[in-house]
Symmetry: C2
Subunit: 382 residues, 2 copies
């Protein structure tokens, strides 16, 4: 049995320069021809971010879509910068939490856009984690058939994952992200100081996605994390900025080669098959996405060894790093049947089999098509 | 004062072959690189259309989105063809009328898609006029971030206008088509026999958009209509098929050169500035879109003469043809102030001025930016 290995000859990507300067700032470009955009990463520069976005969008009116805690802390500085470029900025605060990502909320955003007098020359800026980005991005994608938007992610997860690739969307009662659009942002702007107000547990959950990038794509990043995991979680800027840059450049490279999710981009789903099942089982409460992905990755590595895709030891090395980040690595105790039922959600989206991402070694992955009962073989227990 | 004339060197387009065969069938290709698609026009071939769409989409499950009258008459034959290619077809009948084109109805479509077990390999087929196409198309554009769809338009308007260009969307309480997405269909398939059940008044309203195509782009089409308008409304297939082909080829050419609505595609808004105001004033009741466009075109031609863009006589020639089609050409009696208020809707979408399409002669148009009070100058009366 062999895994399908999407063509993924890696570009001769220079290892990021990790020499700290007084105020380091890094830029990763997501190459998508005329839809290319920059991810700019720095610290203590929210007001400058506002100016940069204002200049880039050149919009007369801007709706700033954000969530309560973030709005209080960071919206004033960002707004000041945006306003300096002549934009009229209206702040729209949506309740945080994945339950907010629904069609009703999108409808309310449209209403607010119209109240703000927004037209085709207006734009949206999202400030927050995945909820602000996905919801605000989807509203931008569909208001007047699409207006520009920029993202200012304030969680590790949103910085390295949700803000790259142009996926926007909302949940339905029947499942997560069942509705959406591909809509590339005009730019993504990261101020790592916004992570100071992020609970350590959420920093770790975001780090799970960075570990994933190393595991599927780049052993050097994985080794870097093995030496820096604690410094990252403590938000040492000499570690955080280059780590985010590295992770973003990997995701940007994958997305650039496969904007609409053919084979290559599927590798990013490493660990997500079981993660989705765990989240669905939990009703999306009590467990963070990155925590579920951590568990799902260790599971996928275990299955990769069992199915003969990888040599022994890969799973252990992965689990050790995730544990050091304080992440869970074992699935909640439930019956195999319960997990199989939860896998049916992915199955519904993909047909009879599920694209399962297998690890071949640290830094190398592929996909294979499996039926849910082969993913969770008879006798498997959580 | 000169109108901005978007670069619009017309391709050396061969006049369509109008020699009738026993069962003529015409194809117009909308050239959009990897998103190119055919518009196929024929008669008495609904079941074949089903087979063609089924083969083209290659989808396991198809949601057929349609409206009540059309569903009864035409869905069975179309479904038979689709089913022959192995697709499982679920019929979704939505209430007809523009009031149905709303977010709540889109939400219901998503629910039905999930009930039908639709996944990324499923597709949508729309059967009906603009409501079925816009609503079903928007649901297809956003379900699972976009699944393929094909259109089977059954009104003249949908055949030559709504089904070409990939505009999908719904209305908000605040205005028409304020939400939407560009989503190109996999193909558009026309059976002119479906027009037999369309009231003559609606045939004429659709013809208004064909007159528009001739007026802004192609005097030869305009002359053809001057000699065939009654035969078209009587649905003589020797006239209807080549006329639809001709009108579609013009719109396809415009869309191909300007997929996302820059300058050129704006010409298609000829007559629409006042038309939108008339429709908004009427609360979208009692007047068909094509009727409002007919009035708006004569108005725009009149203003084009008054502003010195066109020579005298153009307006009269346009009005004469529209009258022969039985279309209204004079705006409902309302005050200038009422019309100015209604124009504010377009203004909201575009900024302080409105892109107003002016006619320079039959077959030639341009755009100019005007403030509403210059479009409807002091002293103007309906």
């Amino acid at each position: 049995m062999t895994a399908a290995r999407p063509s993924r000859k890696k570009a001769a990507r220079k290892a990021p320069d990790r020499t700290p300067t007084r105020r380091p700032r890094k830029t990763v470009t997501v190459e998508l021809a005329e839809r290319s955009y920059p991810i700019e990463i720095g610290s203590d520069w929210l007001e400058s971010i506002g100016r940069r976005i204002g200049q880039r969008l050149g919009a007369g009116r801007i709706a700033l879509v954000t969530v309560p805690t973030v709005a209080r802390r960071y919206a004033p500085r960002l707004t000041r910068g945006l306003t300096e470029t002549g934009a009229r900025v209206g702040r729209i605060v949506v309740p945080d939490g994945d339950a907010t990502k629904n069609l009703r909320q999108v409808g309310e955003l449209y209403d607010r856009f119209l109240e703000l007098g927004m037209d085709r020359h207006s734009a949206v800026v999202t400030l927050g984690g995945g909820v602000a980005g996905d919801l605000g991005g989807f509203a931008a994608a569909t208001f007047l058939r699409g207006i520009p938007f920029a993202q200012v992610p304030t969680t590790v997860l949103a910085m390295v994952d949700a803000s790259i690739g142009g996926k926007t969307g909302v949940n339905l009662a029947q499942g997560k992200n069942l509705v959406g659009a591909f809509h590339q942002p005009a730019g993504v702007y990261v101020d790592v100081d916004t992570l100071r107000s992020l609970p350590r547990r959420e920093r770790a959950a975001g780090l799970a996605e960075i570990v994933k990038a190393g595991a599927i794509w780049d052993e050097a990043l994985f080794r870097w994390l093995e030496s820096k995991v604690e410094a990252f979680l403590d938000l040492d800027p000499k570690v955080v900025i280059p780590t985010l840059e590295w992770a973003c450049s990997i995701k940007a490279e994958v997305v650039a080669r496969d904007e609409r999710e053919g084979g290559l981009r599927r590798l990013l789903n490493f660990g997500h098959t079981l993660a989705h099942a765990i989240e669905a089982q939990a009703g999306y409460r009590g467990i963070l996405h990155g925590e579920a992905v951590s568990i799902g990755m260790v599971f996928a590595a275990e299955r990769s060894e069992a199915l003969g895709f990888s040599r022994p030891g890969v799973r252990d090395r992965l689990e050790a790093l995730l544990r050091r980040a304080g992440l869970p690595t074992r699935p909640p105790k439930r019956t195999r049947e319960a997990y199989l039922a939860a896998l049916a959600v992915d199955k519904k989206k993909q047909g009879d089999t599920v694209h399962f991402v297998v690890l071949e070694g640290i830094g190398s992955a592929g996909t294979t098509s499996l039926r849910p009962r082969d993913i969770l073989p008879r006798g498997w227990t959580a």
